[in-house]
Amino acid sequence: MFDLDRWREIFQSINKNRLRSVMSGFTVAFAILLFTLLFGVANGLGNFFKGAFADDAQNAMFVRVWKTSKPYKGLQTGRRVQLKNKDYDYIADEYENKIQYKSSRIYKNFTIKYKNEASSYSVMAVNPDHQYLEKTIINEGRYLNERDLKAKSKVIVIGRLIKKDLFGEKPALGKRVNVNGSSFLIIGIFSDDGGDNEERKAFIPLSTSQAMYGNNDYISQIALGYNPNLSTDAAIAFGNQMERDLRKKLNIHPDDQSALSVRNMAEANKFVGTVMLALFFIITFIGSGTLIAGIIGISNIMIFVIKERTKEFGIRKALGAKPSSIVGMVVQESVLITTIAGYVGLTIGTYILSLIGNSLEEKYFIKDPSVSSEIVIGATFVLIVSGLIAGYLPAKRAANIKPIEALRAD
């Protein structure tokens, strides 16, 4: 299939008619540049939306309680609802199949002290699964484990910024800190993508906290990760069902949002999904519009180019060129120009996107705009096909003009 002579003819024709080639190339390059930028920016918007909920696990659910706002079964409004270990066990047992991760949470505010440095931090007593729910990234050491919980060990995992506050650049792992009057061993140091606040936190075992502070089985919150095999809708249904069950169990009015509620990432996911879908339609619409404009542009230019070359085709035919050879030559030239020009547009586009980077995140909600390789391959394919069509139709017509008419053309 590779015909060196044919390529030579094409390169000569492109080279000797540079203005024409550059003109048709420019149209395509411009269309693809716009297409790339558009896709990239839309992608960036999508990334921002996804990122806005990236702090916690994608499948996280939180059971929160507060005061009742509705009287129920003779119980008064304003009653404080308290979650306990048995509620946690009930959920773990009842919904075992629907749950991937589970952890209780107790919120505390403690002064943590090391030598002369001390400050107040939010300390959370949790189960080991909590690491995945909060997307805690361990930098040094380890996270809490089941043995810590069983032994009610006095161990602590501190945020990167606590370490910085108390230890500066010195090592902290394996050191002991004073937490609210008791000595705790630092077993791990973590970071978190959720921002500075998240990195000024510390985690201790749930059991330790319950034994040391109040000696009860109270918990503040239950955090869950629903089974990722559940569809978004199924996960939402699961959240709603759990909410109903717990309200019933804790004697809360079925509609009392204030007393007990389940915050479900599935709902946020659904929202993001809807936004992404809308975004997808907008991109597809505008993107294909740009591409079509590019294709029409190249088609018009090809029609013009072929008209201009009609006489040349007549000469070639008089010398023995078959129509197929003329069509082939034009199509190959058109595909070559569209592919190269498209590639140039794509390269410039991706370069500009990489320059933009995250600089527009604050103001325009565009984060890391980029085009995926599937889009790139897809666009290239569309380009080649459009070059094929743009060249084929007019060339076919030109090649079938009687040579004497073609020769008369000027």
Binding site: R8, Q12, G314, I315, R316, K317, G320, K322, P403, I404
Partner: protein, 232 residues
């Protein structure tokens, strides 16, 4: 070589049609050197284009090298043109962005010949028309006479059976006209059939047979002095 029987050709003009060839009978044998004369608009080019398979006739029969030309598609016509025919046009019809050598080599490309070989042969034909040193010049760097000689070299390079020339000297002055006619005579001496249109008596005299057209019909068909001399 060329046999034409009761050939008719009309051009549609709007709703009407212009009857240009009104029943031409002509037989040209291999090796002949024939000129067609006639006033402008008498149908000379029309006839030559049909003979050259650049256009199609409406009625009558046309045999090229014994083969009946009928319902020919563009592909078959292209093959026949490449194999049997060489063209020389009044306006040269060289491809402007190709050098003299590349222009001459082009018919060989369509024959499927390898590049090296076709450039070698093209160079030989350029030498033959005394344009060897001009091989790498573009057409717009050549004079009219030179361009026509390039066109003749291009017409000959495939060793066609018939060379068709439509007023090849129409755009040339008298000295270059003579050199072009000398070339055509040489070609004919080598055995090629040459079929040339002209409206200049001096040009026609140098061929061997003159066919005169008027209003789409042949009014005379006779040997010239040179033609008689050769046949006797």
């Amino acid at each position: 070589m060329i046999r034409i029987e009761k050939l008719h050709k009309s051009y549609p003009i709007g709703k009407d049609s212009l009857h240009v060839l009104k029943g031409i009978d002509l037989h040209i044998k291999e090796g002949e050197f024939v000129s067609i004369m006639g006033s402008s608009g008498s149908g000379k080019s029309t006839l030559l284009n049909i003979v050259g398979l650049l256009d199609v006739h409406d009625e009558g029969n046309y045999y090229l090298n014994g083969q009946l030309i009928k319902d020919l598609n563009e592909k078959k016509a292209a093959i026949l043109r490449n194999k049997f025919l060489g063209f020389v046009f009044q306006s040269f019809n060289l491809i402007s962005y190709k050098t003299a050598l590349e222009n001459v080599a082009l018919p060989l490309y369509y024959k499927g010949m390898a590049r090296k070989e076709r450039l070698k042969i093209a160079q030989e034909y350029l030498e033959k028309v005394e344009l060897g040193p001009w091989a790498n010049h573009l057409p717009n760097e050549l004079s009219g006479g030179q361009k026509q000689r390039v066109a003749i070299a291009r017409a000959l390079v495939t060793k066609p059976k018939v060379v068709l020339a439509d007023e090849p000297t129409g755009a040339l002055d008298s000295t270059t006209t003579d050199s072009v006619m000398d070339l055509l005579k040489d070609i004919n001496d080598e055995g090629m059939t040459v079929f040339v249109i002209t409206h200049e008596e001096e040009v026609a005299e140098q061929t061997k047979r003159v066919v005169r057209l008027k209003d789409g019909l042949i009014i005379s068909d006779e040997l010239t002095a040179t033609g008689k001399a050769k046949t006797v």
